[in-house]
């Protein structure tokens, strides 16, 4: 468990989430449990126990685990982006390229029985169910800023666990220099993967350098806003790397591999001059087609773009700049 203290350069927000809202959030979460238990029609409760009453199947266990998540100091002073914005404005090209496509088409996406394949340069390999992965872990809530490469940003209360805690269990070998992540490839469920108009070579792949993956800031999320991760946000398991552009935070992960060479990653393959492997948030290195010096904090209004200056490493510089000492970040963007 990492005790995080506020660093001097952390953002001081102009607005603070009111205490009443914060308390209501806990109330809302308790309510969610009750209603989840009451929803006997929900497919997640389809498994019946001997006495005919619905048994707690895994998603319900997950919900319980999410409710038990501990709070952390991360982002406590940030103003959260509303739930509607977080869940209805997504880049998840597997469900379509429009921002509302994921929330529109991911509703029926099946995540039960989810398995993750672990392989590569590590001692412990094989297929692990989501329950296997989560069982020994305590979940925590972390409020992180998310900066998209498209120059908009949000503040999201994730629920998850440090990726390092998971990776250690597979005993990576010293030859493991990078970690490669893969999203599910399932064209039947994902209209974006069926589309002939997409230029992406599915499945979506991302990667981190080993030290980035093991960094205490790097989170694996299974929930947000006190709930199980909505499908459009990358259910049931997604990465959150808050100092990198959003596309690094790969969704709906089905495979994690420890590799020796820098893995190829989807956006870097598609347009290497626009999207680097590192993709650290950097206001001084522009995207070839637009400036990265500022960002639009969403939601914004018609007559107020809510434009704020972008911070180096998305404001997490004091935590992560050490990872890149001596590196030319203009070259390794």
């Amino acid at each position: 468990m990492i005790i995080q203290q506020r660093k001097a350069n952390d953002i001081l927000p102009s607005e603070i989430t009111p205490k009443s809202t914060y308390l209501n959030r806990r109330k809302f979460m308790t309510g969610a449990l009750t209603s989840a238990a009451a929803l006997a029609t929900s497919p997640v409760l389809a498994i019946q126990s001997a006495d005919g009453k619905p048994a707690l199947s895994s998603p319900n266990e997950l919900q319980k685990q999410i409710l038990a998540a501990s709070e952390t100091a991360w982002g406590k002073d940030e103003t959260l982006s509303p739930y509607s914005a977080v869940t209805q404005y997504n880049n998840f090209y597997e469900f379509g390229t429009g921002k509302t496509d994921p929330s529109r088409y991911a509703g029926d996406f099946k995540t039960d029985g989810w398995k993750v394949e672990i392989g590569g340069e590590c001692e412990v390999k094989g297929q692990f169910t989501l329950e296997d992965i989560l069982k020994p872990l305590d979940l925590e809530e972390r409020i992180y800023r998310l900066r998209c490469v498209e120059a908009w940003s949000m503040v999201i209360p994730w629920i998850g666990f440090p990726l390092a805690e998971l990776l250690k269990r597979f005993k990576p070998l010293s030859s493991a220099k990078y970690v490669e992540f893969t999203t599910i490839e399932d064209p039947e469920q994902m209209p974006g993967q069926r589309s002939v108009f997409s230029t992406i070579d599915w499945p979506y792949k991302e990667g981190l350098r080993m030290d980035e993956a093991m960094h205490p800031l790097t989170l694996m999320a299974v929930g947000l806003y006190g709930e199980i991760l909505p499908n459009q946000n990358g259910a049931p398991l997604r990465l959150v790397v808050p100092w990198k552009y959003g596309f690094k935070s790969i969704k709906s992960i089905v495979a994690i591999r420890f590799v020796e060479e820098m893995p190829s990653t989807t956006w870097n393959d598609l347009a290497p001059q626009e999207y680097g492997f590192y993709a650290n948030v950097n206001p001084k290195v522009d995207h070839p087609r637009w400036s990265q010096a500022s960002e639009r904090r969403l939601p914004n209004g018609l007559f107020s773009a809510n434009r704020i200056p972008t911070q180096m490493f998305n404001g997490y510089a004091s935590e992560v700049e050490g990872l890149y000492s001596g590196m030319d970040l203009r070259r390794f963007y």
């Binding site: 404005y89 390229t97 429009g98 997409s198 087609r289 400036s291 639009r296 209004g301 018609l302």
Partner: protein, 217 residues
């Protein structure tokens, strides 16, 4: 051909005033739709167009600008195909609507995205060449709108036709303006570009033989 001329006769039986009235009404519909979106967002329905309503409106106005540009461009080929003068009567008005929607698009960009921060525009234009192309297309349409009167037509004489041929250049600029914004989904920009090229080919007299002959059979 008989069906076409029958339809054509039906349409021409409607007085030109009413035809203009109907076209104006239909052309104004998207603008009214966009206007009510703005009003609803400003009066509390903040989620109506998602968390970035300004951007959504810039895209919506841009799409309609391109739609009307294509509609206006298709008038002349349609006239040649039908050999009916009544089509031409409405060309000026449709062109002006294309100019109006392009202006709305530019206005939406300046208001919602640029927020009238003109200090940012130089760096924006350097970073985003598509802005320059869009501005170029709008400037051409402005010149054409200003010289769309009968008086301008008469006083410019032969030069009027040469000037107004620039509309094809504006359409090409608009296509590239759109294409430059592709990230991964290329369907719509490519569709509009293909339509633009088709209209330009059909319009070109050298290619006219292909479709005109085959159509008469």
């Amino acid at each position: 051909m008989s069906i076409l001329s029958a339809i054509s006769n039906k349409i021409t039986s409607v007085p030109v005033f009413w035809r203009r009235f109907i076209i104006t009404g239909l052309s104004a519909l998207p603008a009214l739709y966009i206007l009510q979106l703005v009003v609803r967002i400003q009066t509390g329905e903040r989620d109506l167009l998602g968390p970035e309503p300004g951007k959504a409106l810039v895209w919506l106005t841009g799409t309609w600008a391109f739609n009307f540009l294509l509609i206006a461009l298709v008038v002349t080929p349609l006239y040649r195909l039908l050999n009916q003068r009544w089509v031409l009567v409405h060309r000026r008005m449709l062109g002006l609507w294309a100019f109006l929607y392009t202006s709305l698009h530019a206005l939406a960009y300046a208001t919602f995205l640029l927020q009238w921060q003109w200090a940012d525009i130089t760096s924006e234009i350097v970073k985003r060449p598509y802005l320059l192309l869009g501005t170029g297309a709008w400037t051409i349409l402005l010149a054409l709108a200003l010289t769309s009167t009968r008086w301008a037509q008469k006083s410019l004489g032969k030069r009027w036709k040469a000037l107004h041929k620039l509309v094809y250049f504006a359409a090409l600029l608009a296509s590239v303006h759109y294409l430059l914004q592709i990230r991964a989904g290329w369907f719509e920009p490519v569709l509009y570009t293909v339509l633009t090229i088709l209209v330009l080919l059909v319009r070109n007299r050298r290619f006219e033989g292909f479709w005109k002959k085959s159509d008469k059979i």
